[in-house]
């Protein structure tokens, strides 16, 4: 299958994502510059991490106005999968494709550290090769990853089973200590109502080889590939 990797000025995980899907998982991949107006020909789109436009106003607040975001709107209405990682998640929230917002971390400091993600559902486009409750060893690296939504939205997200990944400890418990940024309900990743747009703060592209400490991040992309093959 063919992945499109969006590149905004200031994006920096683009090459890491490319390496993972192309060199590790053997898929086709192309970079898509932010002023492109079409995403035709791609089976799935990745919004990588970084500091688009320096995150100077708010993370993602400028990037959402890039021409490629209109193309993304159309792309996701076709049901194909889009995944926003870190700054990509922030852009998806700013653009309204996902609810809520990413606030500054509770300690008001950048955090680059390992985290465990508890897989809350194994029946989504992004988790089909995972098992229910499986723990993924995937690191975070961000200054503003504290997921926030109003009470009503949070209830809706939980009731509809749209929280896909939750920060947890090594035994799978979602404790305050295992929450690196203060996110509501230990939320690390959510999907949209149709289930084809995932936003997550942790970086699955950094868990792609054992020499880097973990291959758990591959499971998310393998799930996308598997879902695409089945459809």
């Amino acid at each position: 299958m063919r992945f499109g990797i969006l590149v905004f000025p200031g994006t920096w995980s683009d090459k890491d994502c490319y390496y993972q899907v192309k060199d590790i998982l053997g898929q086709d991949a192309d970079y898509v510059w932010h002023d492109e107006t079409s995403l035709d020909g791609f089976d799935s789109v990745i919004l990588p991490g970084g500091f688009s436009y320096g995150d100077y106003l708010r993370p993602g607040a400028m990037a959402r106005f890039s021409p490629v975001m209109e193309a993304l709107d159309k792309f996701v209405t076709t049901g194909r999968a889009a995944i926003g990682i870190c700054n990509g998640f922030q852009i998806l929230c700013e653009s309204g494709l996902l609810p809520g917002a990413l606030l500054p971390n509770k300690d008001l400091e950048y955090r680059c550290q390992p985290t465990y993600l508890r897989t809350e559902r194994s029946d989504t486009l992004f988790t089909t090769v995972c098992s229910q409750g499986q723990l993924l060893n995937v690191p975070v690296s961000h200054g503003e990853g504290n997921y926030f939504a109003d009470g009503e939205t949070l209830i809706k997200l939980e009731e509809e089973g749209r929280v896909i990944f939750r920060y947890s400890d090594a035994s799978g418990k979602a404790t305050p200590e295992s929450n690196p940024n203060g996110s509501a309900n230990n939320i690390a990743g959510i999907i949209n109502e149709s289930g084809n747009v995932l936003g997550m703060m942790p970086h699955p592209e950094r868990s792609c080889e054992m020499i880097l400490g973990s291959t758990d991040g591959n499971l998310i992309f393998e799930s996308i590939i598997e879902s695409c093959r089945r459809s």
Partner: protein
């Protein structure tokens, strides 16, 4: 023009230097010309006091003939080293001490930005950042302010540009109060055939200024901040530059894309002394001249004078030298990235610099005198106090009544030894997905994609040792850097250094500078690692006191098989632990010289540290061979805090206990906390003991068994018996407890 002393002070030139300029020009310089001389003849750009001493690095041929070195030291923006497979690693360390003292966040941030552009100017993609930081003790709120600002600045700038910050060191000592040291190192990777040059040598080529607009920030940064002692800090605030990491990130991508077209003939970064030094150094190394029109420089402030444009140190700017027919292609690349790009000058055959603002000529100078600052060879002499400090009688150091356990816990919690995680978790150390071993180990290890190889990088310094014995201190700092690389399994290849000293015009400081350089040069010769790049930061003084002489050395090592990289933490339960190297059953007072123990527990900075550099070489060889042969499973340099602290760190980092059974004399402080050099703690399977022993003895390296790993306690027979949680708590929380 009658130049006043005040004007000369502003640009840090002496009256004699001014007279020399007049003599060489055969006339009085214009104000712009004088400003250009002041910048290029500053200590920071011109190396007036250090250049004659830096030649000591090159005196011995054996360090320079390493066939891996692809650049001539000082000729380009950074050193380049061949790592095989058609690839080269480019690296350099640079100081940003004075700006960080004035405005810590921006000072440290722009220090990172500046060193990254040096690497970019070699045509390399920046792949790693390291930093070495020194502050006064944290009980002083001003030092805490500087610490938080500097760490915040590195985090802010480094994270935004997508270059992992993989290793570093932090040290606290009263000596750096008010004059912090902020040394940033950057490592880049480039195809060996694509290394770029800064030399503009084609007549008719166009100079393109790309990146940020030029503003009034940083004027006199080189001459004012970096080349004088540092007393009137409040007045200097406007001379600190302000960084824009987003623009830096875009500039990196735009310049690499431009270089990738093959149409860029030369590239130079704008650092200290801004456009003046970038343009003049570029044509000077190409033996050419230049016409510059300052009205073409894109400015972000109104009505800037030619003087201000020439001396501005606005960040995130690069100079590209391009043939006229290729200008439009390069402009297209810059347009894609929304990076401003303007034709500001032309390379000419005559070796002169003619600078105009529109129609009016504001400077007309020969390149030669501009690029050749006067050089001073002074006479160094140690002070009496320096000599007195070297005396240390063991009898005058009482054995602490508290006992070894209490001393160990105090040392583990000392901010100099304690875990630095609360700092490095603020730095992205994984982006670019090459980090095999990240911060917290002896060296960081980065795999090289597309090969089986990895590089190891580390940065280190020891101001206390250099203060007590500058020559031995110089030897030791290089030895320790190479030891750190060897502990990860890597073969040390080359070094970069940043020489942080007080005013060289003082004989005792000049002596320190000279002796440290001699020590570094000798260690490099013995260990076979050339110094390929570096930077000098003099006049580090505040409140009338000079800092400890503090050469900071960054090291590059190579391993053929990335999967063999070792860490400092014990590699598991049930392993044997041994000490490789200078075994200390009978220690002497030199083991305590300059030690953390002597300072923390006895409030003393005394003694004369020593190293046997030939033994050091063999110890490192044994460690690397043991790792390569699959015998050694973890290795940790025995340094700050001595053997007991090194063993504790191996235990804490792995969560595995230790049962120590080795002889400890009556002076347990010597054995447990002495900092004798050339020692490495290794863990391995018991079945490897014989093979390791014969490996060591073949290299004439002593080795003794220290104990075994396992259980939940940290024990040293008859001395220490503590639960791991207790030693971990002190080590993990020591730094956070004092930074508040």
């Amino acid at each position: 023009m009658a130049v006043t002393q005040e004007q000369l002070d502003e640009i840090a030139l002496s009256r004699a230097e001014y007279d020399l300029i007049v003599e060489q020009l055969d006339r009085e310089p214009t104000p712009v010309e004088l400003g250009m001389f002041g910048a290029l003849w500053s200590e920071h750009c011109g190396y007036k006091h250090s250049k004659p001493l830096l030649r000591l690095f090159a005196q011995d041929d054996s360090t320079q003939t390493s066939n891996r070195v692809l650049s001539q030291t000082g000729a380009e923006n950074a050193g380049a080293v061949d790592i095989g497979d058609g690839l080269a690693v480019v690296f350099k360390v640079e100081s940003h001490n004075h700006p960080s003292a004035v405005e810590p966040l921006q000072g440290a941030a722009t220090g990172v930005g500046g060193i990254v552009r040096d690497i970019l100017a070699m045509g390399a993609r920046p792949i790693a950042l390291l930093n070495s930081l020194r502050f006064g003790t944290l009980d002083d709120p001003q030092n805490r302010h500087l610490f938080h600002g500097v760490v915040g600045g590195i985090s802010w700038y480094g994270n935004c540009i997508g270059v992992p910050d993989v290793a570093g060191e932090i040290c606290f000592d009263e000596s750096y109060s008010g004059n912090p040291l902020v040394n940033a190192m950057c490592v880049g990777l480039v195809k060996a055939d694509n290394i770029a040059t800064s030399a503009a040598s084609e007549v008719g080529d166009v100079m393109l200024l790309v990146g940020a607009g030029t503003g009034r920030d940083g004027i006199h940064g080189a001459s004012g901040l970096a080349s004088r002692t540092f007393e009137e800090e409040v007045e200097l605030r406007p001379t600190v530059q302000v960084g824009n990491p987003f623009l830096e990130k875009v500039l990196i991508e735009a310049c690499l894309e431009a270089l990738g077209t093959g149409l860029v003939n030369a590239i130079q970064d704008l650092g200290a002394a801004g456009l003046t030094s970038a343009a003049i150094e570029s044509v000077a190394s190409g033996s050419r001249g230049i016409l510059l029109d300052l009205s073409k420089v894109h400015q972000r402030e109104l009505d800037m004078s030619p003087y201000e444009v020439m001396l501005s140190e606005s960040q995130e700017r690069m100079l590209l030298v391009v043939a006229p027919e290729n200008v439009s292609a390069i402009k297209e690349v810059m347009k894609k990235w929304d990076v401003a790009c303007h034709e500001i000058g032309q390379v000419i055959a005559d070796q002169i610099a003619q600078v105009s603002m529109g129609a009016s000529l504001v400077a007309d100078l020969p390149i030669g005198p501009l690029a050749e600052a006067p050089q001073y060879r002074l006479e160094g002499k140690p002070s009496l106090e320096d000599r007195d400090r070297q005396k240390l009688e063991l009898g005058s150091v009482p054995l602490p009544t508290d006992g070894p356990e209490a001393i160990l816990l105090r040392l583990l919690a000392s901010p100099n030894i304690a875990n630095k995680k609360s700092v490095y978790r603020q730095y992205d150390h994984q982006v670019q997905t090459n980090t095999v071993v990240g911060p917290g180990s002896d060296a960081a290890v980065l795999r090289v994609k597309g090969t089986d190889k990895a590089i190891a990088v580390t940065i280190d310094g020891n101001g206390r040792f250099c203060q007590l014995n500058p020559y031995q201190g110089g030897l030791i700092v290089v030895a320790e850097v190479c030891r750190n690389l060897s502990c990860s399994g890597a073969q040390p290849l080359a070094m970069t250094d940043c020489l942080n000293f007080g005013s060289p015009e003082r004989p005792d400081i000049y002596h320190q500078l000279e002796q440290c350089i001699l020590g570094i040069a000798d260690a490099c010769r013995v260990l076979g690692v050339p110094v390929v790049s570096g930077n000098v930061s003099l006049y580090n003084e505040s409140r009338g006191h000079a800092i400890y002489p503090t050469p900071i050395v960054g090291g590059l090592g190579l391993m053929e098989d990335a999967s063999k990289a070792t860490r400092s933490a014990f590699a598991g339960e049930g392993l044997m632990v041994a000490l490789l190297g200078a075994v200390t059953d009978q220690g002497d007072s030199s083991d305590l010289a300059g030690s953390e123990y002597l300072q923390q527990i006895h409030g003393l900075v005394a003694g004369s540290p020593l190293i046997d550099i030939d033994l050091e070489k063999r110890v490192q060889q044994a460690c690397r061979d043991g790792i390569n042969e699959g015998l050694i499973m973890s290795a940790h340099d025995c340094s700050d805090g001595g053997l007991a602290v090194a063993l504790s760190e191996c235990s804490i980092q792995s969560g595995v206990g230790f049962i120590g059974e080795f002889p400890v004399g009556n002076r347990w402080d010597l054995t447990l906390f002495g900092e004798r050099q050339s020692r490495i703690v290794v863990s391995f399977r018991e079945s490897s003991w014989n093979a390791l022993q014969s490996l060591a003895s073949n290299l004439n390296v002593p080795m003794i068994k220290l104990g075994t790993t396992g259980g939940g306690r940290f024990k040293i027979d008859g001395q220490v018996d503590l639960p791991i949680e207790q030693i971990s708590d002190g080590w993990n929380n020591g730094l956070e407890a004092v930074i508040g």
